[in-house]
């Protein structure tokens, strides 16, 4: 983990309020684990004060290029959309513990379930799983057809199902409606990222072990300030600890490990 002024390579709005930002810099060379995040300083100075934790969507380790996909939520992310090629963006990372891709063997099947802006970190994971010869199935949930992004990219890596709440594209309903239709033995492991109600529903519907990625407002991003803790479902048998830090123990946890 290092702090670096990365350079903007490109930025585009790929769906309403969803932006893809490509950054170039040395720290991208360290980003080998999917599911980690970077802590982004939108502007130098004190306004906005805090960094923004953004998940890593894709990395070209050799060419030192990082891709982030984020949603405009407030003033900070709005300012980030104004960055143009050549501008500097201060990045602290990579941070946190990501998705374990290595737990699956060749020819096993992973199902990836993403909702909205929780989808991006699953892309780098999908690429790594495919590189390991793991079969990847993906279920991506959106509100409406216009919100859909990364469909082509995921489709290139494996079977991809789109769900929309209003039925304007793919299956009408939620990702869990599609997930529940999968027969037992259809998958060996699931990985998921999205809003909390979705994560809860996925965890309940799952017929296999899996991993979930959480989101929370953060301070330091490295586990010192305790802004982003969550409760363990069962206290740690070794340390007796009752909580986990989302920024440094997570953001990825084994399904069932923490209270969502």
């Amino acid at each position: 983990m290092i702090v670096e002024n990365m350079q903007v390579v490109a930025q585009e709005e790929i769906a309403p309020s969803i932006f893809r930002l490509r950054l170039s810099g040395d720290c991208a060379g360290e980003m080998k684990i999917p599911g980690q995040f970077v802590h982004v300083q939108v502007e130098q100075g004190i306004n906005p004060t805090l960094r923004r934790p953004l998940s890593i969507c894709d990395v070209d380790v050799e060419n030192r290029e990082l891709t982030l996909i984020y949603r405009v939520e407030g003033k900070g992310t709005k300012r980030l959309t104004e960055k143009r090629p050549g501008d500097a963006v201060n990045v602290f990372g990579p941070l946190g513990k990501g998705f374990p891709a290595e737990v699956l063997k060749e020819k096993q099947t992973a199902v990836l379930i993403g909702g909205g802006v929780g989808i991006p970190p699953l892309y780098y994971l999908a690429k790594q799983l495919v590189n390991r010869d793991v079969n990847v199935m993906t279920i991506l949930g959106f509100r409406t057809a216009a919100d859909v992004f990364l469909e082509k990219e995921f489709t290139a890596l494996g079977e991809t199902v789109i769900t929309t709440e209003d039925g304007t594209k793919g299956l009408k309903g939620y990702v869990t409606d599609a997930f529940r239709q999968l027969p037992e033995n259809a998958y060996d492991l699931f990985y998921t990222c999205g809003p909390k109600p979705m994560l809860q529903a996925v965890e309940t519907a799952a017929l296999s072990p899996g991993y979930i990625s959480l989101e929370e407002r953060m301070g330091c991003g490295i586990g010192a300030c305790l802004a982003c803790v969550c409760d363990l479902t069962v206290p740690d048998s070794q340390s007796g600890k009752k909580y986990r830090k989302i920024c440094s123990d997570g953001p990825v946890f084994r399904a069932g490990e923490v209270m969502i």
Binding site: I46, L50, E216, R217, A224, C225, A227, C228, V229
Partner: protein, 309 residues
């Protein structure tokens, strides 16, 4: 001669910069980024007798030039800190200050007694100013007599100097400062966060799960400068100054107002290398301003103003 050296009771500091309690855990996370021996001192997170789970999330919210936090004194408890966190810090040759908190006066006494006997603990910071817990914390820091009684109690058992961390959420901070000085405090830490609140206009609900939280960051620096300046005129014990330090000039400003050392809090979250960077930049700025040694400027504004009045 080390121009950055400052000396306070129990604290021989090679530079005046320490991370502020609560912003640095027990040092283990930042130790992955730089050598903690570069710091003037380390002030660790508040320790209570029992383990504390803290408040529900969200625990932080951003504000212009600052942030609100309501962590709620989450910590692993006295026994864990004695067995793990403090021994881990023995590898560093830096004064360690342990911030202590509790619900009842007796809690403070017990933690102070135990912590002050640990060989690598140089001082105690008495937390009577946490705004984010229902019991204890700020309840002890808003009335001069209550603050004085707690200070006496802790002083009676502590083997190391005691710094009382003052709350800015009071009408007359000087009265509290005088009271704890008379009660035997070796120094003061000031200021803790200012109580604040934010509301999400989409939901009409407070942003923080705790509803209110402590405001820190650049926005509160003028309050810190003013309060340190006022207290410096009326008490003789040294002050560790904190509140919105982001730049080298902020350190100098708090010291000129009367602080003998400073603590950096929120800035660590924006730049994890904030403390060592500020330390590295100090001498060049002192040269520009013609400051020979840092100890020369402690309370300089107070003395100049008192001469010209």
């Amino acid at each position: 001669m080390n121009r950055l050296q400052v000396n306070l009771p129990g604290l021989s500091m090679k530079n005046p910069v320490m991370p502020a309690s609560g912003c640095f855990g027990f040092g283990q996370e930042y130790a992955k980024l730089y050598d903690l021996n570069r710091l003037g001192a380390i002030c660790v997170k508040a320790v209570t007798i029992e383990e504390r789970r803290g408040n529900p999330t969200p625990r932080v919210a951003e504000t212009p030039g600052g942030m609100l936090n309501a962590i709620g004194l989450q910590n692993p408890g006295l026994q864990h800190v004695l067995a793990h966190e403090l021994p881990w810090l023995e590898q560093y040759d830096v004064p360690i200050i342990v911030n202590i908190a509790g619900n009842e006066p007796e809690d403070y006494r017990e933690v102070a007694k135990a912590v002050s006997q640990v060989k690598n603990v140089s001082a105690i910071e008495l937390n009577i100013s946490c705004p984010n817990v229902k019991e204890g914390g700020i309840a002890f820091g808003t009335h001069p007599d209550t603050a004085a009684r707690l200070t006496e109690l802790v002083k009676a058992v502590s083997q190391v100097p005691v710094y009382v961390k003052l709350s800015p959420n009071v009408t007359d901070i000087v009265a509290i400062a005088k009271a704890v000085e008379q009660a035997g405090a070796d120094g003061l830490s000031m200021i803790n966060t200012l109580l604040g609140m934010r509301i999400d206009v989409k939901s009409s609900l407070p942003v923080l799960a705790n509803r209110t939280g402590g405001l820190s960051g650049a926005a509160i620096k003028p309050v810190a400068v003013r309060m340190i300046y006022e207290v410096r005129q009326h008490v003789d014990i040294p002050i560790i100054g904190m509140g919105g330090i982001f730049e080298v000039d902020d350190i100098l400003e708090l010291m000129m107002a009367g602080a003998s050392a400073v603590a950096v809090g929120t800035a660590n979250f924006i730049d994890p290398f904030a403390c060592p960077k500020l330390i590295d930049q100090l001498e060049a700025r002192m040269d520009e301003l013609g400051i020979a040694t840092l100890s020369d400027i402690i309370g300089r504004s107070v003395s100049i103003c008192s001469q010209t009045r």
